[in-house]
């Protein structure tokens, strides 16, 4: 498949997968998003819908055009998926990063070695050697693109949802090829500033992966602006903040390992909850958000563990919070719409800067 004219695509399932290595190996990284309605019976029903949908996609051949699929050791459900993939899905081949659960200094040598090994394996697979000389430029390329994405995310409230979702769906398409104009600039040019934007409640989303922009549309229809998120199929999946890499003096493998270990942690990592809450709070402040919607996918155990404490903590900080439970394998519908509408209305009623 070469739909974007940017090379053969290599899919990956987790925001911790090192896209830099994919580029260094001469492939184009393509984020695989979960489908809405998984139906495979080859995983038990108490594994989350996203994971079951990934297996369904693999078995049905939807991913067969990809050169490979990248897995990262994350939660127990993903661990199960990575194991059964090789047994059930003949193509595309799985490439695994056994990333450490710990995010501290003790894990750095382990992670660095695992990344080097993945580089070797990808290199053998594609015939492109992946060494320091290849990795360095890939780091710079991805860094540059992440700077563009970071700037875009900072003003995402001005980007139409379809364009925003396209960025989340295909984050590594170069902006100057598939997106002849920066969506934010295009949006700003095509429409005059809307004064009502200033008074709409600003929200941040956090929690389990979302497969579609449905919730974004629902919140927009309810009168809110989603100004940020901590969701791995959306903003978190972009791997921000941009890493610091100085090609003059930094070892690229070290830089790569440090970047991914230093990302705001997903709930599968340690240390975790306190750092995640601080990150979420800082996101709320930097985006001037008044409220947070915490998404709890059924059977998404890492997120479910943190939900109620995170909600309590944010409320103590004066942030309005609602927890939205997502049922497995079902598109959000009237139940979610009513819940979100009520939340947005409560923000409008109680927040002085929002009317």
């Amino acid at each position: 498949m070469n739909t974007h004219g940017a090379g053969v695509e290599f899919g990956y399932l987790c925001s911790y997968f090192p896209v830099e290595l994919v580029l260094a190996a001469g492939l184009h990284p393509a984020r695989i998003l979960p489908a809405v309605s998984p139906s495979t019976g080859l995983l038990p029903p108490f594994l989350c819908a996203p994971v079951r949908s990934y297996l369904e996609a693999g078995i049905s051949g939807d991913l067969s055009a990809l050169a490979g699929v990248g897995f990262v050791h994350a939660c127990d459900a993903m661990q199960c998926l990575a194991q059964v993939w090789g047994v059930l899905v003949p193509a595309p081949r799985a490439f695994l990063v056994p990333s450490p659960t710990r995010r501290d200094q003790a894990a750095l040598p382990r992670f660095r070695a695992a990344l080097q090994r993945l580089g070797r394996v990808l290199g053998e697979f594609t015939g492109h050697q992946v060494g320091e000389e290849e990795l360095g430029p890939a780091l710079e390329e991805v860094n540059g693109h992440r700077s563009y994405l970071a700037a875009l995310m900072a003003r995402r409230d001005t980007v139409p949802i379809p364009d925003l979702w396209e960025v989340f769906r295909t984050p590594w398409r170069p902006p100057d090829r598939a997106r002849p104009q920066d969506p934010a600039q295009r949006s700003a040019r095509s429409q005059p500033p809307d004064p009502s934007q200033q008074t709409r409640p600003r929200l941040v989303l956090s929690g389990s992966p979302v497969p579609s922009p449905d919730l974004l549309f629902m919140l927009e229809e309810a009168g809110a602006l989603v100004v940020g998120d901590d969701i791995c199929t959306m903003e978190r999946g972009l791997g921000l903040p941009t890493q610091c890499y100085n090609p003059e003096k930094d070892d690229p493998w070290d830089a790569l390992a440090r970047h991914y270990l230093g990302l705001p942690p997903c709930p599968c990592r340690h240390p975790g909850p306190e750092v995640r809450r601080e990150h979420l709070h800082s996101l709320l402040e930097s985006r001037r958000a008044q409220g947070a919607v915490l998404l709890a996918e059924k059977f998404c155990e890492p997120q479910l563990w943190e939900q109620h404490r995170t909600a309590t903590w944010l409320r103590q900080k004066g942030i309005a919070v609602t927890v939205l439970e997502q049922e497995s394998g079902r598109r959000p519908g009237e139940r979610e719409r009513t819940r979100l509408q009520a939340f947005v209305e409560s923000l409008m009623a109680t927040s002085p800067e929002v009317r």
Binding site: R102, R110, W305, H308
Partner: protein, 407 residues
């Protein structure tokens, strides 16, 4: 005479003894909290896969929330404590061991023995699942005590670098413990504790191997009850003494020709954790048909081999290579070997809602096992400790159909 009408062997004496042993362990732990500060040993809550030998060598008392939750579930108090946790905001989709434990922390008066004594520190190893990471992170916040997480990488394939990583963390654990509990680590003491652990786990494996005999002197529910000491008292002399005693008792059964299931005619393998609130009742239909579970995968988890001159390396290997930390291919090979060695005719897999690493790959594992060995596989959906997930009628129908097919 049909198996159902044959008198069974007398109940193992060790079953009563093990209950007293574990009750004493928890009571001693609780009473130690009342000692004056200078005499009170530090108390750690640890996961079942944590390298307890290091803590034990430093005089740290260890209690296991998982084991306690199993005990609660076996006493049919699991639902009550799960509800306490859920009322406090914890999702009902979380692991039932964790919910029971959290329920007992929030309302200790509802838990047996008044719940577990509060910890001074926490040590978690993720070699069994990722849930323990979240569980212990939550406990650290609830109790405001330090937590050490030992990261044992999942072995999707052979990975010697993972063992080096774990060994390095064991050294880090020692330094952390010395700082946290203000006690010196002594290598000689660790060697002694590791040696005792090795004795207990070796005895445990010898006991499990008795299931190869025909008829088997032991049925898996007996193993579930008697595994308590190798989990909670590993490294202590009382564990070694207990298993020596159990082994003698079973060997006596063998000498007398006593079978755990009289008229044994079907030999089965059990996969996954026990259904604790149905510990013997679940197996009754099998027993009545002369079906004996001669081996299982769960209790094998404590048949670790501690070998080598470097105790830390031995611990790193033992705790990283536990079966739950291994790939589906490894687990399939393990089960195929057990089916051959124990002359097993069929497999019953408990699809345990609370344990994703164990249960998540079972549908695929069942396919691999059946295709390689021809053994039929029954998958029973339940939960290890939350009885609300168990549907009697549905399970009974499937068990009956399975036994009929085997007959």
């Amino acid at each position: 005479m049909p198996a159902a009408l044959m008198p069974g062997p007398p109940r193992l004496h060790c079953l009563s003894y093990v209950n007293r042993l574990l009750a004493r362990h928890y009571l001693v732990a609780r009473q130690s909290r009342h000692l004056p500060a200078f005499a009170r040993p530090p108390l750690a809550w640890v996961t079942s896969g944590a390298p307890v030998e290091i803590l034990r060598s430093m005089g740290i008392m260890c209690v296991y929330p998982e084991n306690f939750s199993a005990l609660v579930a076996a006493r049919k108090q699991g639902e009550t404590l799960c509800r306490v946790a859920e009322d406090a905001g914890y999702s009902p989709d979380l692991c039932s061991y964790a919910r029971i434990n959290l329920g007992s922390v929030l309302r200790p008066q509802l838990a047996p023995l008044g719940g577990l004594p509060p910890p001074d520190l926490l040590v978690a190893c993720n070699n069994i699942c990722g849930t323990v990471l979240k569980w212990y992170q939550e406990l650290a916040l609830l109790f405001e005590v330090p937590l050490f997480v030992l990261d044992a990488p999942f072995l999707y394939e052979e990975d010697t670098a993972a063992l080096d990583y774990v060994r390095g963390q064991l050294e880090e654990l020692i330094v952390w413990l010395e700082k946290t509990v203000r006690r010196r680590f002594q290598a000689a003491r660790l060697e002694q504790v590791v040696a005792r652990s090795a004795e207990a786990t070796a005895l445990w494996e010898e006991i499990r191997q008795l299931g190869r005999l025909r008829p088997s002197p032991i049925n898996v529910p007996d193993l579930f009850v008697t595994m308590g000491p190798v989990v909670t008292l590993r490294g202590s002399q009382s564990a070694t003494r207990f298993y020596s005693r159990l082994k003698r008792e079973l060997e006596t059964r063998v000498q007398k020709g006593l079978a755990a299931v009289p008229g044994e005619r079907i030999r089965l393998l059990w996969d996954n954790i026990a259904i604790w609130y149905r510990l013997y009742r679940f197996f009754r239909p099998f027993t009545e048909q002369g079906a004996c579970f001669v081996v299982d995968t769960y209790t094998a988890g404590w048949s670790v081999r501690l070998q080598g001159e470097d105790p830390l390396r031995a611990l790193a290997v033992a705790y990283t290579t536990v079966f739950l930390n291994r790939s589906v291919e490894y687990r399939a090979r393990q089960m195929q070997q057990l089916i051959r060695d124990f002359a097993v005719r069929g497999v019953v897999m408990h699809s345990n809602r609370s344990c994703k690493p164990y249960s998540g790959i079972q549908p695929v594992l069942a396919r691999l096992i059946s295709s390689h060995t021809g053994a039929p596989v029954l998958i029973v959906e339940a939960d290890m400790a939350d009885p609300r997930v168990f549907t009697e009628e549905g399970v009974r129908n499937r068990v009956e159909a399975f036994l009929e097919a085997l007959s």
